[in-house]
Symmetry: C2
């Protein structure tokens, strides 16, 4: 990288999302006197009788959880979208009202997936084998909704930590399926398709080669996956994890070995994150892949990857706020992605909590 | 509005920004056991010797504040952009590296504007006259940077409250000028121009007429401005405040009367916000207007408006988290904009804190 970018304010372009990010390398020197997050404690019990996600306990909706042994999946008791509701589409005429007050109905289904019966185990605490079961659960769900529902997309995501709106520390992710392709995967798909038409190759394959060559933003790597702080990272320690094979969805992982490699990279990243500030590192994470149904081109242009979006900036308690300027003008970051990658790469893959025992 | 939208999940289109928002009216019933914000206290002193924004005090950079009497403007000691730095533009060839690792230098200047010498006065506590002085300060700054700098855009914004990353309760806003047009105003401008070409009228003028006619989303109104929860609001109590005259930038406000009407609508909205949960309501707020320099079409397509983006959802302590699904798939909201507008409209314009005296 042109080293002048370590010193000057600049914008970087995100060709996957199609937007610019303002980078201000100097700004980390700013003193912080604002809100601090409460660092997460390490002292959760293995079973919490008050937790609605623990085995055998009752949920808010009234149902009782089974005595599950690995993962457990159920329909969100307070789902944002539902399978059954009235149909709706606003008028499609060209009058001002239909132009400016446009809406469409959305059907779908929201799932919650507990990673483990243990109340106190996050992905970083789990074994490769245990994480592999989580991945298998994602695969089964993808297959099931693709075969048995009319929905177009499934967004698998995890909110981890109180500062990421997670209301229960019992590790779990969610999967929302919807009748439409949502904004973010739609924007990525649009750009992937355009790139493919123009350059006759896959954007993420090309980007993978480039990052392996430059070696400036690598966080971790195994035979199946590359984890980097992407050139265009917005969140301080954001990572993009790209499959080395150009697979279109998680069903195209071949056999146990592929699943294990996937589990391993998840384990490495979540461990490094926790080690960075010796805390249970908060983040939102999500997988982008091919729509459940779509055109051949939409399928072909995809390349499975996942995004980790963690808010912490300087310590277990000081996060980056994405507020006024970021919301009203342009995303802005303080450290460069190269600086973030160097720090993450240097960290051990042994969890700090385990060493304490 | 088609009342079925009060009951079903749907998406609404934002023609100004060009994106969709998922609306889930049912979801407010969800119990909340996650992070709570600390409500803001009302007991700040009028002068705080430890505050770097109070008159006569020293700032982090070392400079001493003057004994100012109304507003006070200075260059941010930890600016995200600067006037003087090396020039930079990445190579414009068509090789993969220039395509995927694209950057450009950004110059600019960051200002901080204190609203008042009083440490404990927010916009809601200030008189119309005092707010008018703030508006005059914005106008003078706009004129000054337009005449004396080469920059293309000025983003005036306020982060208010700890949960919006504000590190000092002494009321102030910021103004960042940059050599480029940032993402958000650029996207709006693009859509305003397209609309104008297609329909030969101004999108925000048309929208204003429509909202005055429908009367379903109005929060407040005076002779100069209309404040609504827009059809496509993303934040729970988001408002869009539109000038009734189709002015292009804040310099086109004519005379004292126009400035007073502007000050009055700011006073009304910030007071209603504080009254909603009887707290100093956090938000990010910003003004969108014509670029400092641009084409005639870019100027003509504009229409001054400002956005209030407040995070609180249910009480002074429970906010809406925009996390996993919102970041990775699509913005999502729980109450409808119509429900939010009804609540805000019904609130008094007399500040709850004043009644307590
Ligand atoms: O400039 P401040 O007030 O120190 O900082 C605040 O506003 C900036 C502009 O929205 C953000 O980049 C920061 O994350 C936030 O803490
Ligand atoms: O579904 P949960 O975990 O109750 O809620 C959390 O994740 C959702 C999806 O990102 C968000 O809409 C909520 O604001 C957040 O608190």
């Amino acid at each position: 990288m042109d080293s002048v970018l370590d010193d000057i304010s600049h914008r970087r372009y995100n060709p996957l999302r199609g937007n610019w990010i303002l980078v201000s390398p100097h700004r980390t020197k700013r003193p912080w006197r604002g809100q601090e997050e409460s660092p997460s404690g390490n002292t959760l019990p293995e079973y919490d009788p008050g937790c609605y996600l623990c085995p055998r306990n009752q949920r808010s909706g009234g149902a009782q959880n089974p005595d599950y042994k690995d993962t457990f999946i159920f329909i969100n008791d307070f789902a944002a979208v539902k399978e059954d509701q009235e149909d709706y589409e606003s008028a499609k005429s060209e009058d001002k009202s239909s132009l400016l007050l446009k809406a469409e109905g959305v059907k779908g289904k929201c799932y919650v997936i507990c990673f483990s019966p243990a109340h106190n185990k996050t992905l970083a605490d789990m074994s490769i084998k245990e994480i592999s079961v989580v991945i298998n659960t994602w695969q089964n769900l993808y297959r099931d909704v693709q075969q048995n529902t009319p929905f177009r997309y499934i967004q698998i995501f995890e909110n981890k930590g109180e500062s990421m709106g997670c209301s229960n520390p019992h590790a779990h992710c969610q999967a929302w399926t919807t009748s439409h392709l949502p904004e973010e995967p739609a924007a990525e798909l649009h750009n992937l398709i355009e790139y493919r038409r123009r350059h006759n190759s896959c954007m993420l394959c090309d980007y993978l080669v480039l990052e392996l060559e430059k070696k400036e933003r690598i966080v971790a790597e195994n035979d199946g996956w590359l984890a980097i702080c992407p050139w265009w990272a917005f969140w301080p320690f954001e990572t993009l994890v790209i499959s080395k094979k150009c697979i279109k969805n998680i069903l195209e992982l071949e056999g146990e070995r592929d699943v294990e490699l996937f589990a391993e990279i998840i384990s490495i990243i979540t461990t490094k994150y926790d080690n960075l500030f010796e805390t249970k590192f908060p983040y939102s994470m999500g997988i982008h892949q091919a729509p459940l149904r779509g055109t051949d081109e939409e399928h072909a242009a995809n390349h499975v990857h996942f995004h980790f979006l963690p808010p912490l900036l300087r310590s277990a308690t000081v996060k980056k706020f994405q507020v006024g300027y970021e919301l009203l003008a342009e995303p802005q970051r303080d450290i460069t992605p190269e600086q973030a990658a160097r720090r993450l790469q240097a960290l051990s893959t042994e969890l700090y909590r385990d060493k304490l025992d």
